[in-house]
């Protein structure tokens, strides 16, 4: 392989690996927006909480922070337990956020919910920066000093010629695609999905038809938040630094990814996330790396200017 090709492929792998994370977070955004028409700006911080949930669980299950010789199977079981646990905890958090912060304001103007979302976001970000409370059995809240995620699975390099791919990249992409397909199945093939789409279409009429609107919305939040936790674990294992503010940027970028794909669309979020990851990687790799963070927002502006419904979105006509 020529050097230029190797470099290109390496960027491709790196971009997909980052894009997977954006895609998974974007799935949560898109679902909540699809059902409620609410941009849940606290979603990035739920992702952050997911990483910490995983961190504490891993600490309980594997003291010492490294995999100790009980084989790949043992490590897999533990990784799965940590991920599932974090997803359950985050789902619970999503439920609480919806129940306490959004539901009481649902009848108010849409802007009110947006402001509450920002409030929840700050509560999580700055709440997690407090010094640990003495009465907690674990060091919680974690405080502003970054923590380093333990290695749940040993890293295995899968060399493809000169291109470096690791098992993390493969697992990440695999899990993301599986979750996307699962979500698509839920939305279009289950009773719950049908109810979700009905609520999204018109919550009032759906309620009149006997659909438990509140329960559907709660479950949407639970599902979206659990996805954020999965994204957090997939990100934190290969890139182990976690801190209370690290959900901010990925949260915003995932929002851009959701808009790019057409907010409300599940495959759109996936494609949007991967495209954004690749765009960032190629821009940083082939031009100046300081443009990296600007790319997401450039894309946002361009999409809003030229194709506001996004790649997979449907054009809606606003009736006046």
């Amino acid at each position: 392989m020529s050097e230029a090709l190797v470099e290109f492929l390496q960027h491709l792998v790196n971009g997909l690996s980052v894009g997977t994370i954006y895609a998974l977070i974007a799935l949560g955004y898109t679902m909540v927006y699809g059902v409620l028409k609410l941009i849940n700006f606290a979603h990035g911080d739920v992702y952050m909480v997911g990483a910490y949930a995983g961190f504490y669980l891993a600490d309980l299950l594997l003291p010492g922070g490294t995999v100790q010789g009980d084989g790949v199977a043992g490590a897999m079981v533990r990784a799965l337990l940590v991920t599932m646990g974090a997803m359950v905890l985050c789902g619970l958090l999503g439920y609480l956020i919806e129940r306490l912060a959004y539901r009481p304001l649902r009848s108010q103007a849409r802007l009110t919910s947006l402001i509450t979302a920002i409030g929840v976001s700050f509560l999580l970000e700055y709440g997690f920066q407090l010094q640990p409370w003495g009465f907690m059995p674990i060091e919680f809240p974690p405080g502003p000093t970054p923590r380093f995620f333990p290695e749940l699975l040993p890293r295995v390099a899968l060399p493809l010629g000169d291109v470096n791919v690791s098992n993390y990249d493969v697992i990440g992409l695999g899990v993301a695609v599986a979750l996307m397909l699962g979500l698509q199945w839920i939305v279009y093939r289950t009773r719950f999905g049908t109810a979700m789409r009905a609520v999204s279409f018109d919550p009032q009429v759906a309620g009149l038809m006997g659909i438990p609107v509140n329960r559907i919305i709660s479950w949407t939040f639970v599902l979206g938040s659990a996805l954020a936790a999965a994204a957090a674990i997939l990100n934190a294992v290969p890139r182990p630094q976690i801190n209370p503010l690290f959900g901010l940027m990925p949260g915003l970028k995932a929002f851009v990814a959701a808009v790019l794909g057409g907010i409300g669309s599940v495959p759109g979020a996936m494609v949007g996330g991967l495209v954004l990851g690749l765009a960032e990687e190629f821009v940083a790799g082939y031009t100046a790396s300081s443009f990296k963070d600007a790319i997401a927002f450039t894309i946002l502006i361009l999409v809003l200017l030229f194709k506001p419904e996004g790649l997979f979105g449907r054009v809606t006509v606003e009736k006046v």
Binding site: T145, P240, L245, F246
Partner: protein, 401 residues
């Protein structure tokens, strides 16, 4: 980002309001005392206060923690010998969580509410830059133990009257590493990876780059990242293609360790090089061996056999159970320079102490003999350390020209 930027002023206002509310209960007694006898000592035996602003938590938590331990050790030793001008010295430390705005906030608090005699801090240049104007404005002398960016003590061509440092500056540190890379390691092709949001890192990268080129080397790539980034593979993949013999990464330990790991993950086996921002026990812990064989410039080496250093390492170890990193040593030196100046000063007003600090000559510090020049910088040698296992092994001492 956008959201944080828009809302940050409000958050700051809230924080200020919170401080304002707290202030009366805390400051009334001392405020009243200051009102009765402005200038004259309110109580002849009240302890003299050194105010320390440091990052005890946050991304660079070990910087503030080590410095604080160094300062406290120096103060304890001084107090055991009778203190300064017959009075005991106390240290008041505020945490800034590694944030600039927080550093400015607590500096004001130390100067206005706590009326400290001397300010000590910060390690990070960008936070010292937030503190310096406040020190000048309130005529409170400030000594930074380890901020190496030239702008800390000098604004354009004017020297900041109240701001000093007890360490060397980046032009020296950057050129030391460039010379070492070129002359000792005989490297020809080096790539640079700098933290664009950090005055320290940008400064070091610039000085390294120009010296390395002067000496006939080639900078094959100049990439950047931002503190808090998780993924550096785009930059590292681009760097790898250029086939450098080493990468100069003058950042702080948290990111450097992650960069080192991702460098190895991409199959790039060249050594990394950096500056004193690497110096932390956490560096080795996070890097998990990825930095083996890398080099960084530093203020001192705890392996140095000179009696002053041996003695300091012994007492610090007895007190804290760990080998002092250079930030602890610098904190120790900064506090000693401050206390010695307070002893020499005719009175304890800000300007008098300032003049005494400015007159510091041939002070026997742990990190070298400290003589403050006209720009308020200490002229001291640097050392180059090589990462071996979980320590930096001493390789060379480089004298300033």
């Amino acid at each position: 980002m956008l959201r944080a930027r828009v809302l940050a002023p409000f958050a700051l206002l809230l924080a200020l309001a919170a401080c304002e509310k707290k202030k009366p209960s805390e400051a009334t007694p001392s405020g009243a005392a200051a009102a009765t006898g402005a200038g004259a000592a309110p109580a002849a035996n009240a302890p003299l206060v050194l105010g320390h602003v440091g990052s005890l938590t946050g991304n660079e938590a070990t910087f503030g923690d080590s410095t604080d331990k160094g300062i406290r050790l120096a103060v304890e030793e001084r107090n055991a010998r009778g203190g300064v001008k017959g009075r005991q010295v106390s240290v008041k430390t505020y945490d800034n969580q590694g944030k600039q705005e927080e550093a400015a906030l607590v500096t004001t608090r130390l100067v206005v509410d706590d009326k400290v005699q001397v300010l000590l801090g910060e390690v990070a240049s960008k936070r010292s830059l937030a503190m310096a104007p406040i020190a000048d404005k309130h005529k409170t002398p400030m000594i930074t133990p380890s901020s190496t960016n030239p702008k800390v003590t000098k604004e354009g061509d004017t020297v900041r009257p109240y701001v000093f440092r007890v360490c060397f500056i980046d032009p020296f540190q950057g050129t030391v590493m460039a010379k070492f890379a070129r002359e000792t390691l005989k490297l020809q092709r080096v790539a640079v990876l700098r933290d664009v949001g950090n005055d320290y890192s940008v400064g070091l990268a610039d000085y390294f780059l120009s010296k390395f080129k002067d000496l006939g080397g080639e900078i094959v790539d100049d990439q950047s990242y931002k503190a808090g980034d998780q993924d550096f593979k785009a930059q590292l993949t681009a760097i790898k293609r250029k086939k450098p013999e080493a990468i100069y990464v003058p950042g702080y330990y948290t990111e450097v360790a992650l960069i080192a790991r991702q460098t190895r993950e991409l199959g790039l086996a060249v050594p990394l090089m950096g500056g004193d921002g690497w110096d932390s026990a956490k560096l080795y812990e996070i890097a998990r061996g990825a930095l083996e064989g890398s080099y960084f410039s530093n203020h001192y080496s705890p392996d140095d056999p000179s009696p002053r250093i041996v003695e300091f390492v012994k007492t610090y170890r007895a007190r804290h159970g760990v080998v002092p990193d250079s930030l602890a040593a610098q904190g120790y030196d900064a506090a000693r320079v401050a206390m010695e100046a307070m002893e020499r000063a005719p009175d304890l007003s800000g300007p008098a102490i300032r003049d005494a600090i400015a007159a510091t000559r041939e002070f026997p510090g742990v990190t070298g003999v400290i003589t403050l020049d006209a720009d308020h910088n200490a002229v001291k040698p640097a050392v180059v350390l090589k990462v071996e296992g979980d320590t930096g092994k001493f390789v060379a001492t480089v004298q300033p020209n």
